[in-house]
């Protein structure tokens, strides 16, 4: 595969973004349909090229792409290039296929929006940045993509920026992920610091022509505490991007963005970038046992922690958001145990069924004008297609065979089971509890949304619709209807994938694992016991949800009584938002530390006052200034002249001597 073709995967959507933003919007107006054509066409090209790339890697052709030195100072020599291996090929196909389907779906969802072209500009930009991230053969280039997907996420969460909640959510998402990036950046600096003296640091991930590169030599060249810290820094960056505990709080709020954005960015691709990152750097983690254990524990904890909040949310997108956090936790759990294959396999399957569920929720919103499941109900009759695909997605997520979610979750359960020891046991229990909760919350959502009687949709919405006309989200409601074909067909395709995407790793062939073999993945045998335990947990969850919500109940009074404190804790999201925003940022920093420093800095405080009075002219400055402020410019000019005269005089006297 020629290098130019690989670069084109990135360049095509980038060109579409530039074209849309700089030509179409100014010349053809903000709602021109050309925006759609350009973005879909470009991503279509990327998709075809990605399939080509996959087939090349699949047939075992060695793809070595050159590196280009773009800056060199001393021992620092940045060499930029692209890396095409099994991991990249899988990510390419996931990103381009989901993106393509989401763009098509968006036409139905966004066609009445006044910023239609802006939407497609940002979506194309995101796709390009995400492809850069996965294709980069250089840590710095990867970081560039990493930050740019964060930017696009910011721009798209805040797409309807006149809504204060959207503006706040966008900001929150960027800042919290940036907090993770802080440690990621420190890890990059650490690699530079600890790199062996006599070898130039190129930051190339894999460089056949260099004496050392990060992936082959990184783990061996950098050892000890330094390596552990570097790995933890990488994990912190990944935790921010993938919304893992304790940096998960931004993702539920990010649901303020248009729903197709949530499907693409906040379910299938960008949030999986953290998993991709750790997977990419697994050779480093292999030498850092402590770091790996921490990765596994963060993942395992997040599985249950996030799923528990998903159980009580009434906003369908928030249920899905917590579900995403929880499912990503499974992937980190697997990576922490060194299981590259299962983690990526779950990423692959999850991308399709979660995108499907999100698009389903968008379709429901299209019909009812709300995301509040308490106002839905009974939609299966009017929206049979949406109901059908959502049902398939739910079964896949709940891990019911033969749907795709079962196969990858089973592999992860099996890994934890056979890992054994205290760590393995803890992780296995967490994973099983998570499986139970997953099935329970998604079927609760399914029943609340589609079963029982219709409860009125947007018309019943009691609160703030001030901007209702601005946004698409709150248009319909009174008489729900099935969504147009342009929305249904992408969902139907995703539904097929939610059923069958696991065929790529069919137990007899495991093509998927073969792709990753050069990176250290090996075939996982199906283990009956953990698979059965996981399945039972899932069925139990479905059973409980059925018992409580089947009839279309909005809340389940039988459990809310004694469990009220627990429900409250979950509804308030364990008070993490209060801790971060209320206590740390507002109370400690803004009201106290920063306020003190601002006072400290001022002329009423210490620094300005002290420097003023200690200064050469200081004693008179205060007085002089009062004179100046009275409007006597003369006075100030006098001071200026005196100063100048002194200097010139000093110069003449001293200078003349030489």
């Amino acid at each position: 595969m020629p290098e130019a073709a690989v670069w084109l995967i990135i360049a095509a959507p980038l060109a579409a973004a530039v074209f849309n933003g700089l030509i179409i919007r100014p010349l053809f107006g903000p709602v021109s349909r050309i925006g759609f054509d350009a973005t879909v066409g470009a991503i279509g090209i990327s998709f075809m090229l990605s399939l080509w790339a996959l087939s090349v890697v699949w047939t075992d052709q060695e793809v070595v792409l050159p590196l280009h030195e773009i800056i060199r100072v001393d021992e620092f020599s940045l060499r930029i290039g692209l890396l095409l291996d099994g991991l990249t090929a899988i990510m390419l196909v996931v990103v381009t296929s989901v993106s393509l389907l989401v763009q098509i779906y968006s036409h139905g969802y966004m066609k009445e929006d006044r910023s239609y072209v802006r939407y497609y500009t940002f979506m194309a930009m995101f796709t390009s940045a995400m492809l850069t991230l996965v294709l980069a053969n250089n840590l710095i280039l990867l970081f560039v993509g990493w930050e740019l997907v964060g930017l696009c996420s910011y721009l798209l969460i805040g797409f309807w920026f006149t809504r204060p909640s959207a503006a706040a959510a966008a900001k929150k998402a960027f800042i919290i992920t940036r907090f993770g990036d802080l440690f990621f950046l420190l890890a990059i600096l650490g690699i530079f610091l600890l790199w062996p003296e006599d070898t130039p640091v190129t930051f190339a991930l894999s460089d056949p022509n260099a004496p050392m590169d990060l992936l082959r030599a990184g783990g061996a060249a950098l050892t000890g505490t330094g390596l552990t810290l570097i790995c933890l820094g990488i994990m912190a960056g990944a935790a921010g991007k993938s919304a893992q505990f304790p940096l998960h709080t931004w993702l539920p709020d990010a649901m303020e963005g248009p729903t197709p954005v949530s499907a693409l960015i906040h379910a299938a691709t960008m949030v999986a970038a953290g998993v991709f990152l750790v997977a990419r750097f697994l050779p480093l983690f292999e030498e850092a046992e402590t770091a790996r254990t921490i990765v596994a524990l963060i993942g395992g904890f997040t599985v249950v922690f996030a799923a528990s909040m998903g159980l009580v949310m009434n906003d369908i997108k928030r249920v899905l958001a917590y579900s995403t956090v929880s499912q990503l936790g499974y992937m980190f759990l697997a990576l922490g145990l060194g299981a590259l294959g299962p983690a990526l396999f779950h990423l692959f399957n999850h991308a399709f069924f979660k995108a499907l569920l999100f698009l389903g929720s968008g379709s429901v919103n299209h019909a009812t004008g709300t995301f509040d499941m308490r106002l839905m109900g009974g939609l299966r009759r009017v929206m049979p297609w949406t109901y059908g695909v959502f049902f398939i997605g739910s079964l896949s997520l709940a891990g019911i065979p033969p749907f795709s979610g079962f196969w990858s979750k089973d592999e992860i359960l099996g890994i934890a089971w056979s890992y054994g020891g205290t760590l393995g046991t803890i992780l296995f229990v967490l994973a099983v509890v998570g499986a139970f909760m997953t099935a329970a919350y998604i079927f609760r959502a399914l029943f609340m949304t589609f079963h029982g009687k219709y409860r009125g949709g947007e018309a019943q919405e009691a609160h703030g619709t001030a901007d209702a006309h601005e946004t698409h989200d709150e248009r319909h409601g009174a008489t729900p209807h099935e969504s147009p074909w342009v929305m249904v067909i992408p969902m139907a395709i995703l539904a097929v994938l939610a059923i069958g995407s696991w065929f790529i790793n069919f137990p007899a062939t495991h093509w998927f694992t073969d792709l990753l073999k050069p990176l250290g993945a090996h075939v996982e045998e199906i283990q009956i016991v953990p698979a059965a335990i996981g399945l039972v947990a899932g069925l139990l969850g479905i059973g409980i949800a059925t018992a409580l919500y089947r009839g279309g109940a909005v809340s389940a009074p039988s459990i809310s009584g004694p469990l009220a404190p627990v429900t409250n804790l979950l509804t308030r999201k364990y008070y993490m938002d209060e801790l971060y925003e209320g206590v740390i940022v507002r109370s400690v920093l803004y009201e106290r530390l920063w306020r003190f420093l601002a006072w400290f800095d001022s002329d009423k405080g210490v620094v300005d006052r002290a420097v003023n009075t200690l200064g050469l002219f200081g004693r008179n400055l205060g007085k002089g200034i009062r004179v100046v402020e009275n409007g006597q410019l003369q006075m100030s000019l006098t001071v200026l002249s005196i100063g100048a005269v002194i200097i010139v005089a000093a110069y003449v006297v001293w200078g003349g001597v030489g």
Binding site: V73, F161, K171, I175, L185, I647
Partner: protein, 493 residues
């Protein structure tokens, strides 16, 4: 391309020549603006020409009078020596570019337009002179020349407590100059002439010795002057006042190039001529830089005046320059120089945009603003762009500079740098919070008739947006030039 005789002289004195023409012939406002704009555009063309010539042939030197035999000022053995090397070149270009932007950004100035432009152009000559002076006496003179125009520009065309702020600016700078003068004279006696090249050579060889002052003292004298100018905490308090009260174009120049005189001096003189003293004092300077970065960022959060907010962010970002310089590696000092260039365009743009908002909304009080994006899509988009550049978004110039500074300084001072890196989160926090409060949310009714950018504003913004993107995508364009000079001073490969 070959440099022609008098190229640098022309670059330096073209603005003041423009000022002279305006003083004589500038009877109409529009004519004044056109002359000023013409002079600065020509200046920018010459600076570009100089850059091309530098790329082809290396440093450019212009001299009138030799040291020793036939000096320019015989009594003191000074020479009219102007040089453009790798360290000067991008800064000269930056000054010319911001000069054009400043004239365009002054399109709305309506009072005493003629005098205003005379001062503005004189200021630009002073700044260009500092960056190209090869003779320490000239350096000092240009350094002082810039004060008078600044005083009048702030005191007469500013807002708020403008006279207080103007005076404060002058006094702080003069205070530093007094120290610097002692240093200048001490070096003159040490070397027998004002030849900065000879001083650097002796300094690098370790043979620079002064008769009656220890090298440490001389080093600190220069440091004081440059640290005030940069500014470094706790000598920064003149900056927020001067910025807040200065007219838009002057804020642009102040942030864009005047602060860079401090960074330039640090690299050219403190690093170049005092390598061993620099090494000795560096650990302390690193601490001051980290304090500047974090303290500046923390104070930003409490600001309610949009300009004052940007001014404090400048304190934080210039702390990065000091961090890079004090880390004394080829990578870090090149990064610091690149950060000067990047900060000049980015913060210049921020001040420009804030000025445009102020011009249209007549307030900079953040709680009064809100939702402006709906009425000012172009200005809003540029504001967000500049903000993203300021918070170090990749592919914009600030990122490359920040990364190089951090890479270099982490090598030498890992723990201090780790604290400094915290700044990237704080910066993201205050930038996005400011964007939210000023631009996002529902449009407040009182802003229903606010206008978007005028054509002059638009061109001025575009002139800064372009270099931010170009340098961001291909930082080597500027970094390689800086590196040529830096590696000679810090010794690396």
């Amino acid at each position: 391309m070959q440099p022609f005789d008098g190229l640098i002289t022309l670059i330096v004195f073209l603005p003041v020549a423009g000022a002279a023409v305006i003083a004589v012939a500038g009877r109409e406002q529009m004519l004044v603006r056109r002359i000023a704009l013409g002079a600065m555009i020509l200046n920018l063309i010459l600076a570009t020409y100089a850059w091309l010539s530098y790329s082809a042939n290396g440093p450019i030197i212009e001299q009138l009078g030799q040291y020793g035999s036939n000096p320019w000022i015989p009594g003191v053995n000074a020479s009219y020596l102007l040089t453009i090397d790798g360290l000067s070149m991008p800064l000269v270009f930056l000054t010319a570019l911001l000069g054009v932007v400043a004239v365009l950004g002054s399109w709305h100035v309506k009072e005493r337009v003629r005098e205003y432009h005379v001062w503005l152009l004189m200021l630009l000559t002073g700044v260009q002179g500092v960056f190209v002076a090869g003779d320490l006496l000239l350096f000092f003179l240009f350094w002082e020349v810039e004060l008078v125009p600044m005083y009048f520009l702030i005191a007469m065309w500013g807002t708020g407590h403008r006279e207080y702020s103007a005076m404060k600016f002058v006094l702080y700078t003069l205070f530093g100059s007094a120290f610097m003068l002692v240093g200048v004279l001490a070096l003159r006696f040490a070397i027998g002439s004002f030849d900065m090249g000879a001083m650097t050579l002796a300094g690098q060889e370790g043979t620079l010795r002064a008769a009656f002052l220890s090298m440490d003292v001389i080093f600190l004298m220069f440091l004081a002057a440059f640290a005030i100018k940069l500014p470094v905490w706790p000598l920064h308090t003149w900056l927020p006042d001067a910025h807040t009260d200065a007219p838009t174009a002057v804020s642009v120049l102040l942030a864009g190039v005047l602060l860079k005189m401090g960074g330039y001096g640090l690299i050219r003189i403190n690093v170049g001529m005092f390598p061993s003293e620099m090494e000795q004092w560096a650990p302390l300077l690193v601490i001051f830089s980290v304090v500047s970065i974090l303290y500046g960022a923390a104070v930003v959060f409490r600001q309610t005046d949009l300009k004052r907010l940007v001014a404090y962010s400048s304190v934080s970002h210039m702390g990065l320059v000091l961090l890079g310089v004090a880390s004394l590696g080829a990578v870090s000092v090149t990064g610091a120089a690149l950060q000067m260039f990047a900060h000049g365009t980015i913060t210049g743009l921020l001040f420009l945009v804030v000025g445009i908002i102020y011009e249209n909304a007549h307030t900079r009080h953040i709680p009064d603003l809100g939702g402006l994006f709906s009425r000012m899509p172009v200005v809003g988009a540029v504001f967000v762009f500049a903000g993203l550049a300021s918070l170090g978004l990749p592919l914009l110039s600030g990122f490359a500079a920040e990364l190089m500074v951090f890479l270099g300084s982490f090598d030498a001072y890992p723990w201090q740098t780790a604290f400094a890196v915290l700044g990237i989160v704080l910066t993201a926090g205050y930038i996005l919070w400011t964007v939210e409060r000023v631009l996002l949310g529902p449009l407040k009714e009182r802003w229903n008739s606010v206008k978007d950018a005028s054509p002059a504003d638009f061109v001025a913004m575009a002139l800064l947006v372009l270099p931010i993107i170009i340098v961001g995508v291909y930082p080597a364009l500027v970094a390689d030039v800086f590196r040529d000079a830096v590696t000679l001073l810090v010794g690396g490969g």
